[in-house]
């Protein structure tokens, strides 16, 4: 039964990873930018939640109400200023600038918050409690909640992108930025919106991560960015639901690895990633051909 529970846990963790990954996928899909500071910004969101909770004493679970919009605005500002300037100068510059940003954020967090880990206490029942199916199978409350949130976010994103008029514009800009300009669209603003969405979702992921595990300044790159990336690659570039699939595969692989040998949890995930890279580089769920 330990195996079944492990797989279930891995499955549900996939939701958390999907939260990490969908923003990364979105930014790449729309503007061909890989934001190396993506994970660090999630951690910033997590720390922000800690700060907000400490100062305003709002219920922990509602911290995202403040954090997500704030980080979304930060995302828009960052995109319109820093990332757009870098984009104008080329892909290489964009990577370098976001790398620099990542390092600055991490070290700033280290400087101001020290290397201690910090958790977002979501309450004992939520963290330790679980739904029981039968007598052996456990579905942890927190993970269930995170998974549900992830699905809701993905549904929301999908509806927004395919069903709304602005979502249509975003897809158009993603397809052909210049043609969109010729149709009257200011693509810089559209990029900003995409970045806002990306950072909003990843901040949500950061808050969730803070509840599920503990935040530390280096988690942004060590964990969040890597897992987001692996989920995107496994699921397939350009596919939003693919990030959930990829996240699930990653989570399950990690749990299976942990069952085999407790210290192999991370390695197992990376091995699966390498396997997918070799056997099916376009990912498991691509809709359009990767270019």
């Amino acid at each position: 039964m330990a195996w079944v529970n492990a797989i279930i846990q891995g499955l549900l963790t996939g939701g958390l990873y999907a939260l990490f990954a969908c923003g990364l996928s979105l930014m790449f899909g729309v503007m061909k930018v890989v934001n190396l500071a993506h994970g660090d910004l999630a951690v910033v969101g997590g720390y922000l939640a800690v700060g907000v909770i400490t100062v305003t004493h709002i219920p922990v679970l509602w911290s995202f109400v403040v954090v997500v919009p704030v980080m979304a605005v930060v995302g828009y500002a960052l995109q319109r200023t820093l990332i757009q300037s870098a984009l104008n100068r080329g892909i290489l510059t964009t990577l370098i600038v976001t790398l620099g940003l990542s390092m600055v954020i991490e070290n700033a967090l280290l400087q101001f918050f020290s290397a201690d880990t910090r958790g977002i206490g979501a309450g004992m029942t939520l963290v330790t409690g679980s739904v029981r199916l039968g007598s052996q199978i456990e579905l942890p409350y927190l993970l269930l909640l995170i998974f549900a949130v992830a699905v809701a976010v993905l549904l929301g994103l999908q509806y927004f992108l395919s069903g709304s008029s602005y979502g249509r514009l975003i897809r158009a800009v993603a397809d052909d930025r210049e043609a969109a300009q010729l149709s009257g669209a200011d693509y810089r603003h559209v990029f900003g919106i995409a970045a806002a969405l990306a950072l909003g979702t990843v901040a949500l992921g950061g808050v969730a991560y803070g509840m599920y595990q503990n935040l530390d300044p280096t988690a942004g790159t060590d964990t969040i960015l890597l897992f987001a990336f692996v989920a995107v690659v496994i699921g397939g570039l350009g596919s939003l639901w693919g990030t959930l699939a990829g996240g699930i595969v990653l989570g399950v692989a990690q749990q299976i690895g942990a069952q085999i040998n407790i210290s192999d949890e991370l390695l197992a995930g990376y091995l699966v990633f390498l396997l997918v890279l070799v056997l099916r580089p376009q990912g498991l769920f691509t809709r359009r051909a990767s270019s």
Partner: protein, 353 residues
């Protein structure tokens, strides 16, 4: 005047293509002097300073490699620390077998370069942004893999055997000299590489990748070679690190701060120039030494400076110097001289678009 007639005029005037100006002789002599001066350091300076210098050599080696990757091959890698770790652990493995760490270093260098091949095969098809993260995944995977072996000390590492018998002063001196040797070798390798035909391809990629591809240059092969060289170079730095720290542990050789350091030094000094990493390393070491008591501050400042430079001074500090003085310490370009002896350098990059 059409292009054809202009070329005819030039031909009539007579021109030839030469590799470098006369100043390379002076530069070479100066470089030799510098190396000798540095080489004498253990005799003049106490061990605390040599330790700092060794660290500087390591950063210089790493920065040159990162510059080669990002500035010439267009590959941004945030996983070179994987090769640093590999180099260190190769030395450890060989030392555990009884080899002297100093003798193990060249082997470790080659091994690191060879290890780069399968890694390249795994990730070379990824687009630049995803390639970058993939290098990180690889580095993490390598570290996790190595940590599984208790024979190598697992998560806590092992002291480096084979050096305990030496007298401290001698050890310090040898460590220093090997650090110096590796740094000089790294710079020399980069210089020779860029002077070669491969270097032409790389400079073309640096200037305009699409144009380079369409003119038939073997971009993929060039990148592979650069990746291997960079892997070997970072492995060499890792080997020096192992020797200087007298122990090899995962957290000492694998952390991503290496990437931060080498990237920042390379960027600030000037990507796409050979002289850049030297300046960048100096800046980095100065900052680190002066701000040491403030922990992470020097990295924060470095990061901010790197961002500013990447945006506004693409060719870094050396680029700023270079454009004013037209100075080339490491000439790799081609000079076109007309009979009237007005040289126009065709190897120099034009303003990048």
């Amino acid at each position: 005047m059409s292009v054809a007639t202009r070329a005819e005029t030039r031909a009539a005037e007579g021109f030839r293509v030469t590799r470098s100006q006369r100043n390379v002789i002076w530069t070479g002599a100066a470089a030799l002097v510098v190396v000798v001066v540095f080489g004498l350091a253990p005799f003049e300076v106490h061990s605390g300073t040599t330790a700092i210098l060794v660290q500087g050599f390591i950063v210089l080696t790493l920065a040159s490699m990162w510059n080669l990757l990002a500035g010439y091959a267009g590959l941004v890698s945030v996983g070179q620390q994987g090769f640093v770790g590999l180099g260190a652990y190769f030395v450890l493995i060989l030392a555990l077998q009884g080899m002297s760490p100093f003798a193990a270093l060249p082997v470790a260098v080659i091994a690191s370069g060879v290890a780069a091949l399968p890694l390249w095969w795994l990730i070379s098809r990824l687009r630049s942004g995803y390639f970058a993260i993939a290098t990180w995944v690889l580095a993490s995977a390598i570290m996790l893999f190595i940590e599984r072996f208790s024979a190598l000390g697992s998560g806590t590492g092992l002291p480096l055997p084979g050096l305990t018998g030496m007298s401290p002063t001698l050890l310090t001196a040898y460590t220093y000299w090997i650090g110096l040797a590796v740094a000089v070798a790294a710079l020399l390798t980069v210089y020779l590489l860029l002077r070669s035909r491969l270097g032409l391809v790389l400079t073309a990629i640096r200037d305009d990748e699409v144009a380079a591809r369409s003119s038939g240059a073997r971009v993929g092969l060039a990148r592979l070679l650069v990746f291997v060289v960079a892997g070997a170079g970072c492995g060499a730095a890792g080997a020096v690190l192992a020797i200087s720290q007298l122990q090899v542990q995962p957290t000492g050789v694998f952390p991503v701060t290496w990437t931060a350091e080498m990237a920042f030094a390379a960027i600030i000094g000037g990507l796409g120039t050979i002289e850049g990493p030297i300046i960048g390393t100096v800046v980095y070491m100065v900052l680190q030494q002066t701000l040491q008591s403030f922990n992470a501050w020097y990295l924060i400042i470095l990061g901010l400076v790197a961002i500013v430079i990447a945006l506004f001074a693409r060719r870094g500090l050396w680029g700023l110097v270079d454009s004013r003085l037209s100075l080339r310490l490491f000439p790799v370009g081609y000079w076109l001289r007309t009979a009237a002896n007005r040289a126009t350098e065709d190897g120099r990059a034009t303003a990048d678009e």
